[in-house]
């Protein structure tokens, strides 16, 4: 395996709120160019961890380095090289997509061609539509477009497909895989295990603030099978979701 550069290092990260410890002394590394997943049920501490890495929240203890910069001493430099997609983030509702993208270009102090970004996420035909008129899936796709404004080295996605219908989810998966060009690293959280299986090169499983496993999905599954696990129901070659998509077509529909 070629020696890949560690672009993110998390060391002994802990976060406490008023008596509740949301993140308990976790450590992991992320390599440049991979899609890394933080999986776990709601309340596991994934979003908190992500927000600390995004410089949006202060840690109680521990350190995080992104591209060599510490979140404590150089948050500004980190903000310049990351793109962030928040769960259910909003934008100025009455602005068109192009105007919103120009706003973000201003915030990052970069020039941007809004049409190019919109095309990447498949929203070029909505360029002059105001944000509030988009459907849920379109809003999520636009959100991802805003993460590309500053051609970041690392993109953080917080539960990118929560709340979307199967077609939108599939389409978003394709988009996320396409983001990997140019060695961009992607860190995402999700509670959909099927999503993690499809997208992640490696993932960390979190529960109650701790990381209980880190590995590639394949290794993790092999590990489980190695313990003698047998699935209760016979798995068919296809699932119901495949049926739905086959019947209704893979194209995304406007809601």
């Amino acid at each position: 395996m070629t020696e890949k550069r560690k672009i993110i290092e998390v060391k002994h990260l802990t976060k406490k709120y008023n008596g509740l410890t949301a993140v308990k002394d976790i450590s992991f590394d992320v390599y440049q160019g991979e899609i890394f997943g933080l999986l776990g049920p709601n309340g596991a501490g994934k979003t908190t961890t992500l927000e600390i890495m995004e410089t949006l929240r202060e840690e109680t203890e521990g350190e995080v380095f992104i591209d060599g910069f510490s979140i404590n001493t150089d948050p500004g430099k980190i903000k310049e090289i990351i793109g962030v997609q928040l769960q259910q983030a909003g934008f100025y509702p009455s602005l068109t997509l192009i105007e919103s993208l120009k706003l973000f270009a201003g915030l990052y102090n970069v020039d941007v061609k809004p049409e190019v970004l919109l095309e990447k996420v498949g929203l070029l035909d909505k360029a002059k539509v105001s944000f509030k008129k988009l459907s849920g899936g379109q809003k999520q796709r636009f959100s991802i477009a805003t993460t590309l404004v500053n051609t970041p080295k690392v993109i953080f996605l917080d539960e990118p497909t929560t709340g979307l219908d199967p077609q939108a989810r599939r389409n978003l998966w394709d988009l996320i895989k396409a983001l990997r060009k140019d060695d961009t690293t992607i860190i995402m959280t999700t509670h959909y295990m099927d999503e993690a299986e499809v997208l992640c090169d490696r993932c960390a499983i979190m529960d109650e603030g701790k990381i209980i496993a880190i590995d590639t999905p394949d290794h993790l599954i092999d590990g489980l099978l190695g313990k003698g696990f047998k699935r209760e129901r016979k798995v068919k070659e296809a699932t119901l979701e495949d049926v739905f998509i086959d019947l209704t077509g893979k194209e995304l529909r406007d809601e």
Binding site: E80, A89, F91, L95, F104
Partner: protein, 364 residues
């Protein structure tokens, strides 16, 4: 920072409710009072028999379309009428030194003229407007006199030409109130919504410094407010006869004062949006600050007819001073120095508010 200002302004302009409350509502109010004021409302003033009818003050009133002078009744009759509300005020003008009269040889303290006005609870609104007019006219005289001696007779001609209409009272009040609304409600709701929809949080992940976000928003509100002010004054002046004493200079002076008022009130908006635990509390909390001033700060009717204890409250409210200053600038041509007390009070309010706001401001 400019990017945010531009984006926020666009968002604001496209929002129909802000246009309605920001532009249409004050215009309608000004229009109503403007038309009403210009046609029909007459203030009935009883003139006490011993009044010096040669005084230019008296002349100004007798030539005013909105004042009806009643000169043929005795003092007792007038007092009774006043109590019953048949007339709105009584007027009595005479020199303090009875030997003086309008003799030009009389200078200094001996030539001081006293204007006695009585109003009653029976007609507080008109009484109040009349009181304002009297104050306005006498203030103008005093400003003019301070610059040259001898006295009153010097400024006679200026007075008669400038008729004090109801709109001259109402429009600055409406402006002041609009500034208050946009400053407090606009800012509070904007930041609440930005916080709730996580727009603010998304901005925070970018390199822009937090202070610039606030500044950008403030800039956009300022631009909107000045736009609104221009429209209101323009329509008021061109269509409804609002008086701008020194034309364009007055216009710009009013804009400056509007900007000052807006900045002060935005501070209140920041505080409200930060201390309100959820969105349901924002409106009542903002109203707590706004409504008393709507009623008590001389927006629609003069505070002069209020009982003393209420006047104390009025004098503590920042909007009172803003309205005052706006009126003085517009009608009397007062300079910034002339309204320095008002400006000072607004500044003090502003500093106190912003100290609180900085302590209390929440990002999330």
């Amino acid at each position: 920072m400019l990017a945010i200002a531009k984006a926020s302004l666009l968002n604001l302009l496209r929002n129909p409710s802000s246009i309605i409350f920001g532009l249409v509502f004050p215009l309608v109010m000004v229009g109503i009072f403007g038309f009403v004021g210009n046609s029909g409302i007459k203030i009935k003033v009883g003139v006490l028999p011993r009044t010096n009818t040669e005084s230019p003050i008296y002349t100004a009133f007798s030539e005013s379309d909105s004042i009806e002078l009643i000169t043929d009744k005795t003092e007792e009759e007038l007092t009774t009428d006043l109590e019953k509300g048949k007339i709105d005020a009584t007027l009595d003008i005479h020199s303090i030194d009875p030997d003086c009269g309008m003799n030009a040889d009389c200078v200094g303290a001996r030539s001081q003229i006293a204007v006695y006005v009585k109003t009653s609870d029976a007609s507080p609104q008109n009484g109040g407007v009349f009181l304002s007019m009297v104050k306005s006219i006498t203030d103008s005289i005093n400003i003019a006199v301070a610059k040259t001696t001898p006295l009153v007779s010097v400024s006679t001609e200026n007075l008669a030409g400038r008729e004090y209409k109801t709109i001259d009272f109402i429009l600055p009040g409406q402006l002041g109130f609009s500034v208050l609304s946009i400053g407090v409600m606009g800012t509070a709701f904007t930041f609440l919504s930005l916080r709730q929809t996580l727009v603010l949080k998304r901005f925070y992940a970018t390199p822009i410094r937090r202070g610039y976000i606030v500044l950008g928003e403030a800039l956009s509100k300022l631009a909107f407010s000045l736009l609104q002010t221009s429209v209101i004054i323009a329509i008021g002046t061109l269509a409804l006869g609002f008086t701008l004493v020194n034309g364009i200079v007055t216009f710009f002076a009013m804009m400056v004062l509007v900007a000052l008022g807006l900045i002060v009130f935005m501070g209140v908006g920041f505080v409200v949006s930060s201390i309100a635990p959820n969105e349901n509390v924002v409106a009542p909390l903002a109203n707590l600050f706004t409504l008393p001033q709507f009623l008590l700060a001389g927006t629609f009717f003069s505070t002069d007819t209020f009982p003393a204890w209420l006047q104390v409250i009025s004098k503590a409210l920042p909007l009172t001073y803003l309205n005052d200053a706006l009126r003085k600038i517009a009608f009397e041509g007062a300079s910034f120095w002339d309204v320095r007390t008002q400006i000072l009070v607004l500044l003090i309010w502003g500093i106190v508010i912003y100290i609180i706001a900085i302590r209390v401001f929440k990002w999330e």
